[in-house]
């Protein structure tokens, strides 16, 4: 106890000497005393490197009186929750004579804790010997608790996101299942409708009636081909007119069983919004069907189908050369009505030119990019 008191007196004397080295109007000393930043000076040349000077801000921060501070090593601010590794870091820095900057949990006189951003720096004399350590403190407890609040909020948000993601996944699975189911039903229903018409054809004796039924079947099957080609692209909102045209025309020409029909195709990929698939496909079906009925079916000939972009618009051209025959009036009339309705719906322009045995029909779909992208 005696020994300890002696240390305190030594420390106090050292502090007094430090202050005495500065005249009272020394602005550095005045600044040290008056600054709002808690600061201390320790003397490493005394046993256990005691604090020899502290400012008012340090006393306010820690709650200790001056006589409870001077002569003690800084470790009296540590407590049970103080991180051991951080303490070791300070000790090593001081032993090596380095600057140390650490965040440490410290305890006030009343036992409450605060987060302290400590900066410790050695002060050397002209010979380079360490004569003091200077330490500044910064209470960043509010920052620390804000960090904790933020972390808690982030965990909460992450949990919420995880929950929402799971819900969305489940909803997506349900939707995918529903889309498959609906697609399957539409396909089956189209095939069932076609089958019913075909059955009626088979049991109908009258040739004219059979022709009429086949005419209906042809249009149902055009829709079947559309349905098959929908949702096959990566972008399910788009429909490739060329893919459709290729299958429709080759199947139609193959099925005539005539090898004197020369088919040539010039098809570039032409993606349109899926909503335009049905009217566009009906137009292609009617134009090709018309060419077949007007002569190709009876006497063979040439048919050329072109699908491409033209000056930002879409062009579909059906060109046929054949010996003309009188087509079935009713089927021709139905074809005319379907083309007219579809063209109106699409805002398409249709131009038909006939030159002897050759017929050329151009369908121009006027599309701005904005239209192309609408669904």
């Amino acid at each position: 106890m005696q020994e300890k008191d002696q240390y305190r007196t030594d420390a106090r004397n050292a502090g007094d000497r430090l202050v005495a080295g500065h005249v009272s109007e020394d602005p550095f000393a005045a600044a040290f005393k008056a600054t709002r930043m808690p600061m201390i000076v320790t003397d490493p040349n005394q046993s256990d490197n005691p604090i020899i000077f502290c400012n008012e801000a340090f006393r306010r921060l820690t709650g200790y009186r001056d006589d409870e501070i001077i002569g003690r090593n800084c470790r009296f601010l540590q407590g049970p929750e103080t991180d051991k590794a951080t303490i070791a870091k300070i000790r090593e820095g001081i032993a090596a004579g380095h600057d140390v900057a650490v965040d440490i949990l410290n305890y006030r006189k009343d036992g409450t804790t605060f987060w302290n951003a400590v900066f410790i720096s050695p002060v050397r004399d002209e010979a380079g010997t360490i004569i003091y350590f200077f330490a500044s403190q910064l209470d960043f407890t509010t920052v620390k608790s804000r960090e904790a609040d933020l972390a808690a909020a982030r965990h909460e948000a992450e949990a919420e996101v995880a929950k929402n993601t799971a819900n969305l996944k489940a909803a997506l699975e349900a939707r995918t299942l529903l889309v498959h189911e609906v697609d399957h039903r539409v396909k089956n229903n189209l095939l069932t409708m076609a089958s019913i018409v075909k059955m009626q054809v088979r049991i109908t004796a009258d040739y004219r009636q059979r022709q009429t039924l086949m005419s209906v079947l042809n249009r149902i099957e055009a829709l079947s081909t559309v349905q098959r080609k929908l949702f096959t692209l990566d972008d399910v909102s788009k429909f490739d007119v060329s893919e459709f045209t290729k299958e429709l025309v080759t199947d139609l020409v193959d099925a005539t069983g005539r090898n004197d029909i020369r088919l040539s195709l010039d098809l570039s990929p032409l993606l349109v919004p899926a909503v335009k698939a049905t009217p566009l496909s009906l137009i292609v079906n009617e134009l090709v069907g018309d060419a077949v009925r007007r002569g190709l079916m009876d006497g063979g000939g040439d048919i050329h189908v072109l699908v491409k972009r033209l000056n930002g618009h879409f062009l579909i051209r059906v060109e046929d050369t054949s010996e003309p025959v009188e087509p079935d009036i009713e089927s021709t009339e139905l074809g005319r009505m379907l083309i007219e309705a579809s063209a109106l719906q699409l805002g398409a322009e249709i131009e038909r030119k006939q030159d002897g045995r050759k017929t050329v029909v151009d369908v121009v779909l006027l599309v701005g990019d904005h239209q192309e992208n609408t669904h």
């Binding site: 399957h184 095939l191 089958s195 075909k198 079947l217 299958e247 080759t250 099925a255």
Partner: protein
């Protein structure tokens, strides 16, 4: 040729039967489930089969296909979703996608009949997706 039809929608099956018969072939039977199909494969020894993937007992058409392939009987899938056919097509020649058209089915039947009889000179119709093409599409697509 003797054709087996594996399809659980009876109306579609009967209509297909009529088309096969009109093309000059015999239908050995219609199977609505995989168990019916397996019985018929052994009993009637068809030359060829149409196989729907979704049957009365679930998506068992694939198993029926593997059974046909093991018995050395050529067949094609008839399905509304050919994307779901496993890689390698389970030994099938190819697939026709529903809803097929009368012309599409007729052209496919003509081509298949030639293949089954050993004539490989014809070119496949647009309505028939060949197994090797589907392979290539999967690999490069």
């Amino acid at each position: 040729m003797k054709v087996m039809i594996v399809e659980d929608e009876m109306l579609l099956a009967m209509e297909l039967e009529a088309e096969v018969e009109m093309a000059g072939h015999q239908v050995t039977g219609i199977a609505m489930s995989s168990s019916q199909a397996l019985k018929q494969i052994n009993a009637s020894k068809p030359d060829f089969a149409f196989v729907d993937i979704h049957l009365m007992d679930g998506p068992t058409g694939i198993d029926v296909g593997r059974e046909l392939a093991a018995a050395g009987i050529p067949y094609i899938f008839v399905s509304g979703n050919i994307k779901r056919i496993p890689e390698g097509f389970a030994g099938a020649l190819g697939a026709i996608e529903k809803p097929y058209t009368m012309n599409g089915m007729k052209n496919a039947l003509t081509y298949i009949c030639a293949i089954v009889e050993g004539d490989e000179s014809g070119s496949p119709p647009a309505s028939l997706v060949l197994a090797e093409d589907a392979h290539v599409a999967k690999r490069f697509g």
